[in-house]
Subunit: 399 residues, 3 copies
């Protein structure tokens, strides 16, 4: 099974030729704003290479329009909200939430063709999502599941950061947490992350990487939380990281610790502390993206002090990634002749890329990407256990 689940480099490079595909799928929901960002003010933002202006109607409902006036391309975001409409700040044309022009200066008749593009928009899980592709297939059921972000059984907060790297580099980063050992030594990193075996499973549009570190020391970030909940330091713990990827760019990570041997792996986490790191990345350009995140916990739900401390702590960890990812993006651009190579640890990231490439190729109707029925089936689901430290790299063909 290992051979099929972790395809060799050669195969990956053969189908699809991702370098001839667009960089991201269009027919999907991308987070465009945190709920608190969107007000009765015009918010410009570039989403998947589209310039958008967003605002709320008087009723609170979000609106997303193309940020270029039909008349002379002036950014509508430089204008004003008029009721539920937006008025251009240059010549005063007014567009309604559907993008239709409802006022032109100096004329009574309005050209019925005068309109700007309106984007499907949904507010869910504390994010405002937009659909940059074909509106006819914009199904709200397809919004990625990040329900923990406004589930009353979980408490926490997050933020939006702008990263100078393509969104795929963040997917790579989150699908392989061994980097914590080297990048986040002082908070969540520990040697055992890079040492213990992990398991990769996948479905048609999702992939999961599961890693259990049993009977280990708790790193500072978790020791602190354990003490907040239980009032005493933990001894040896069982620590878990279950990374759940939803194509193309949403990752919910089920994380936590429990005292060693109290049954967490078997399903009883009641003795420990649990959290979710919620992440969804929205491409801005090919070399930059909007990174929306939150950290939520399942204990002391109303303690705002803990919420604030955790938000600041996680923000500090992400700032470490930020520098690494910008350096990596620059390196990618400086070496157009070079490609990435994959290690065992990249099994999860490879599945994420494969699933995203499948989405993109499906949209592109690109004849170069004709997967056989067998291959399509292969993507439908299988489970692989990667005994990382025992792995024979040559057998897997990935390192």
């Amino acid at each position: 099974m290992a051979e099929s689940a972790v395809p060799p480099d050669d195969d990956l490079r053969r189908v699809p030729d991702t370098f001839t595909l667009p960089d991201w799928p269009r027919n999907c929901w991308y987070a465009a704003a945190y709920d608190v960002e969107l007000k009765r003010q015009l918010l410009p933002r570039r989403i998947a290479a589209h310039n958008l202006v967003m605002y709320r109607r008087a009723s609170g409902e979000p609106v997303a329009l193309e940020d270029a006036c039909w008349h002379r391309l002036m950014p509508l975001s430089k204008g004003n909200i008029e009721g539920d409409n937006v008025q251009c700040g240059y010549h005063g044309l007014v567009f309604n939430p559907e993008g239709r022009c409802v006022f032109m200066p100096s004329q009574k008749t309005i050209n019925p063709a005068a309109r700007v593009r309106s984007y499907p928009v949904v507010e869910r899980h504390r994010f405002v999502w937009v659909w940059p592709g074909d509106p006819a297939v914009a199904d709200p059921h397809l919004v990625p599941d990040l329900h923990w972000n406004d589930d009353p059984e979980w408490a926490g907060d997050g933020d939006l950061i702008h990263l100078k790297c393509g969104y795929k580099l963040i997917v790579d980063n989150l699908m392989d947490l061994t980097h914590e050992t080297f990048v986040h030594q002082s908070s969540i990193g520990q040697r055992s992350i890079a040492e213990v075996p992990f398991e990769v499973t996948h479905g048609p549009n999702s992939a999961t990487v599961t890693r259990w570190m049993e009977n280990v020391e708790a790193p500072p970030f978790w020791r602190m939380q354990f003490e907040w909940k239980r009032g005493e330091p933990p001894g040896k713990v069982d620590r878990w990281q279950i990374i759940q990827f939803q194509a193309p760019s949403t990752i919910a990570i089920d994380v936590g610790i429990a005292p060693a041997g109290t049954g967490a792996r078997q399903g009883d986490r009641s003795q420990g502390v649990s959290g979710f790191v919620l992440n969804t990345m929205t491409p801005e350009t090919e070399s930059s993206c909007h990174y929306f995140w939150a950290f939520v916990r399942d204990y002391n739900l109303t303690d705002q002090r803990i919420t604030t401390l955790l938000r600041k702590g996680v923000a500090g960890v992400f700032a470490e990634d930020e520098e690494v990812l910008a350096a990596q993006q620059q390196a990618v651009e400086a070496h157009p002749d070079k490609q990435f190579y994959n290690l065992n640890i990249d099994s999860g990231a490879m599945w994420a890329r494969r699933l995203t490439d499948k989405m993109i190729a499906g949209e592109a109707h690109d004849v170069r990407y004709e997967r056989s029925a067998a291959e399509a089936h292969e993507l439908d689901g299988s489970t692989t256990r990667v005994e990382a430290t025992e792995a024979d790299a040559r057998r897997l063909g990935v390192a």
Copy 2:
């Protein structure tokens, strides 16, 4: 007549294909410096994509040379004036005002081919004009008429500003003053500008937009001036804006107010206050330009306090445009796939573009732009009255 004077979109897009033409004509005079800018110092400036170095001879006459030494391309503007000549600051070559090399280091004989380009230059109406095209046809009679700027019957001052937009966007801006309602609400804007009818006329190289707002309130900028001249506030006024375009990029705007019904429209402006907004734009690159302007008045000619207040006031108004125009330029670059659409209010701007395109096409000898005799005749002169608020946009085919 309206149909022929305001051609439908389709026609505009058919001939000429302006996107395959150069961005500006070469055989014309462009303002390169305000008179006070040019001294016995080397002034570098990029004019219509040419790098120039300008200075005055001992006699005061202006000189404009290519700003790149014949020898090693060093900018001559980094060197020094020597008498009426300029000496390169690197190896000491000296060029005279005609661009001929008159000194070379370490050699007695000077290569007769050693020269830099010298540009035709004329000083008039307080501007120094240069001709970037064929010197053989550089006729000083073709300098645009901005005589009000040094006419003893008018007083005022102006400035040069650098705008991050193509010069055509400023022509658009000035040919349609309805934008004052939205961009300059606190100074010169008023709702009636966007409401009253206006008239467009044109000649072979000029176009005029005339707008009379009768029996209206005076906006702050004009109320203030009326009080300066007459010592009392105006009541209701007749206000005029007569925009006079000279291809490719000079616009003199005859503006003012007079007490309502005192005959200003019929020719007697003696009860009111009159001014001219003088504008000439010089392309620097395809996305930036030099904007030379002045505001002159016909009253209290020696009151320097008024001159200063008006210069500062107009500069404040133009700063509002500056932001709008830079945003529009960025939007144009961000949306290469999109085009401009025209409203009724754009009739004047459309004629300006047509006349400039005709100049450019004439220089390009581009076979794709073969106007028929009939079309050429059409450009020779006609008058159209656009009843803007009554207009049927579909009939005009422009909105």
Copy 3:
């Protein structure tokens, strides 16, 4: 002889067509760091368009590796030194000084193909040199001769500056010192540099420009040094500048003064003061380079005060060049349609370009550059005396 040594413009432009050749040779040693810059720390630097990371082993020996991890291209310079190896800061891969991967996270078996490029490196004359081309031909005997920089008979110091110009513009600058008259008037410039005759000689890979100014005033920089050594001001002096070029970008300039008529030109410099200006330029990109320099003297060898004063003085002179060269580079880019023309004073620079072009063409095996045997012979050596002030530019065909 003059005609053949200083070929006419036409000939220069005919062979080789340098604009189709790469900008620099690859198979040669380039200075990559001053000795004091390289420590037990990771130093990133772009050398001849290669991104390098450099450091010293525990033994002090220099190492130069490609600055991009094999795995995900992360710059290794963002990681850490581990013993004699470098560890990537992202996922912890370790590479040894030969560039071979010796550790991968989460796996025991290391892909034998996992490596980064290691560059040949030599430390000599206080510089660390790297060879960006074919390692098989990286011969340490080819390191340019700048032995004065650590010769116990000479004392001095220097620095590295980063210039925003192509390395060839600095070669031009140093091969013709008449620019001192105009750029460095207050320190080393004097009119006679641009007036006296000079001599150009060349070998297969080197060219020399010799200029003797006899019975002249000493400029401030030299008067000062004479007083330091001799305790009294010099009277009239004989001054020399012997510029020794080694292709592609190393120039040692033998400079000094001696009391007029004391035999310096005939070989006895004992009454004067001598120095060497040592220069080696390393291309970074096509429009920027690293400029390594030193100034050494043959008197008062242990006086650190003199060393410091001279280093600061020469740095001040080079800062004047820095501005000139950056302006020239910008001018070259702004005028892609223009070419350089040559004066008599450019004879040395023309030979330098010719020799460098020969190196590049030899590497390119470019059929467009097939020099005949006769031409090859011509490059082997000859001496020309250019009587600059008597020269007939038309006869030479160079001006």
